[in-house]
């Protein structure tokens, strides 16, 4: 077939597809419900797109002019971007994710999470216990200025003050916790990329740091206000740190031991899980920041309520991670 005949026969289809792509690539919410006037319907788009793909293949095979091939290639490229675009986010997917997919994913990487938990809680509890017997150990972890600052924050003498902070209102600290804690969580994950080293470092560092503060304050008798402050948000925050570390470890394992996959393939698979875990960690840390800013700082609450709520959160979150998504059919 001559190029002129081919062009004359199909030109109308190409212009129609071109117009459809211009109008319907990003329809507004109002227009999405119905088809555009004067164009073919949205459901006919895939068939139309495949027909133009075939025209392009024919044009290339028959050696038609560069211009025609370029035009068809442009149409195909734009059509490809529309046909294979990701589905619009649905709210139900968010609920499904936090209810089932995230706990399931955490359990799927149980070994990495276990190692992360041992590294973090091991160093955390180890330092606390060590400091009860050797209080001078605090001076090898922190310098004198830092120690004075921690002591001022949790001094039982000014019990009427807000717990756990030098200054600043609840809402301001909420913003600060979001920025600071979520960034730390995300960095912990990404740091695992280099053969897990970064994640191991962050887990040990945080374990020693937090354990050091807790151990020192307990040893000098300031434990009361400190534990009252941290009891509420400890569960979501510490578990989120552990899960971040675990997510980083599984990413690092893709570099160390990709198994029967190529390293590139292993990275992509670990990257998908990493991104999903990061989404869950984001949720946990926002919740932790909320508790830390608006609940943990309340000074007048009696001890049983403070520790009761903290313990309840530990039980609930562990139960969620352990049981969430069991017995539900796996979402496609």
């Amino acid at each position: 077939m001559k190029q002129e005949v081919f062009q004359a026969r199909h030109d109308a289809e190409w212009s129609a597809l071109d117009q459809w792509l211009v109008k319907r690539t990003r329809p507004s919410a109002k227009q999405r419900g119905r088809d555009a006037d004067g164009l073919f319907g949205d459901l006919e788009f895939p068939a139309m797109y495949r027909r133009v793909c075939q025209h392009l293949a024919l044009a290339q095979r028959r050696g038609y002019s560069v211009l025609l091939i370029d035009r068809l290639q442009d149409l195909v490229h734009r059509g490809h971007l529309v046909l294979y675009r990701p589905p619009a986010p649905r709210w139900q997917a968010v609920i499904e994710f936090f209810g089932a997919d995230f706990p399931r994913l955490v359990r799927h990487h149980g070994r990495a999470m276990g190692i992360a938990a041992v590294l973090f809680f091991g160093s955390f509890i180890g330092v606390i216990v060590a400091m009860q017997y050797r209080p001078e150990f605090a001076h090898s972890l922190f310098d004198a200025g830092e120690l004075a600052r921690f002591e001022a924050m949790y001094d039982p003498a000014n019990a009427d003050a807000k717990l756990g902070r030098e200054s600043g209102s609840d809402v301001k600290m909420f913003g600060y916790y979001i920025l600071n804690n979520v960034s730390i969580g995300f960095r912990t994950i990404a740091a695992g990329f280099f053969a897990c080293i970064g994640s191991v470092y962050v887990l040990l560092f945080n374990g020693l740091f937090l354990g050091g503060v807790a151990g020192h304050l307990t040893a000098i008798g300031y434990g009361g206000p400190f534990w009252r402050f941290v009891a509420g948000h400890s569960a979501p925050e510490l578990l989120a740190i552990v899960i971040s570390g675990g997510a980083g470890l599984q990413l690092g394992m893709a570099l160390i031991a990709p198994g029967r996959r190529s390293r590139g393939r292993a990275f992509v698979e670990a990257g998908i899980d990493m991104a999903k875990l990061a989404l869950g960690i984001f949720g946990m840390l926002v919740f932790a920041a909320f508790v830390e800013a608006f609940w943990s700082s309340i000074g007048w609450m009696p001890d049983p309520v403070k520790f009761g709520v903290g313990g309840l959160l530990w039980v609930l979150i562990l139960l969620w991670l352990w049981r969430g998504g069991r017995g539900v059919a796996h979402a496609a």
Binding site: Y49, R50, C53, Q54, L56, A57, Q60, G63, Y64, S65, V66, L67, L68, I69, D70, R71, Q73, D74, V76, H77, H80, L81, Y84, R85, P86, P89, G168, S169, V171, K172, M173, F174, G175, Y176, I178, L179, V182, S183, F186, R187, I189, A190, A191, F193, F194, L251, G264, F267, V268, A270, G271, I272, M274, A275, K276, A278, L279
Partner: protein, 219 residues
């Protein structure tokens, strides 16, 4: 890259220079937004500080993800430079790959100014930084609109043979670059194709330019 429809799709991975330019534009834009917010929120006291910190968080972590997924893989900077983030198979990037590649910025940034990302991009064949490798994404050039050829506008000449697309493309490329070549070099190149032009010297050059016009659909 071949699509499920059996069509070869051209993806041209972008090098590190245009990507750095896009990043610089994004960075300036984010700084400007932050600055405006800082002024507006300074009047609101503690609530303002909280909003400011959350905006800072959003601009740092969520800005690239939101734009890449909701805006055809283009942040404003990438749009200005003509880049787009796509999956390795050419499909638009989704939430999960976008989160993965932007989380990995933490690694690519190290030790300073995206050094690791730069080195990875220079070594990798598709100039992917570590984030792109983990997310399975590419940063590609957006093809410029077609139909604008810089070939000289001369009357079209029908080619005596039917040429495949690649050879047509070569002749069009010759026509587009003709202005940068000396007349002697033009003739030297045109003389390589005696069967096609059936002439030598300046006439052959004119015939080749005419054929390029006809391949480009000009009259």
């Amino acid at each position: 890259m071949e699509t499920p429809e059996g069509i070869a799709l051209r993806l041209r991975p972008a090098g590190m220079m245009p990507r750095a330019a896009a990043w610089a534009i994004d960075f300036a834009l984010r700084l400007a937004v932050l600055w405006v917010f800082a002024i507006a929120l300074a009047l609101l006291g503690d609530l303002g500080v909280a909003v400011y910190l959350i905006v800072l968080f959003g601009l740092f972590w969520l800005y690239p993800i939101a734009f890449e997924v909701l805006h055809d893989g283009q942040t404003p900077g990438k749009r200005a430079v003509g880049l787009r983030v796509v999956n390795a198979n050419g499909t638009p990037v989704g939430w999960v790959p976008s989160i993965a590649r932007n989380l990995m910025r933490t690694v690519d940034m190290l030790p300073l100014l995206y050094c690791f990302g730069l080195v990875a991009g220079l070594i990798d064949r598709n100039s992917r930084r570590f984030g792109d490798m983990v997310a399975g994404t590419l940063v590609v050039h957006v093809d410029s609109p077609h139909g604008h050829s810089t070939a000289p506008d001369v009357p079209a000449v029908q080619a005596p043979l039917l040429l495949p697309a690649a050879e047509q493309g070569a002749i069009v490329a010759f026509a587009e670059r003709a202005r940068q070549l000396t007349p002697e070099r033009q003739q030297e190149l045109a003389n390589l194709l005696p069967q096609l032009t059936q002439a030598r010297g300046a006439v052959a050059v004119q015939r080749l330019l005419g054929m390029a016009s006809s391949f480009l659909g000009r009259q």
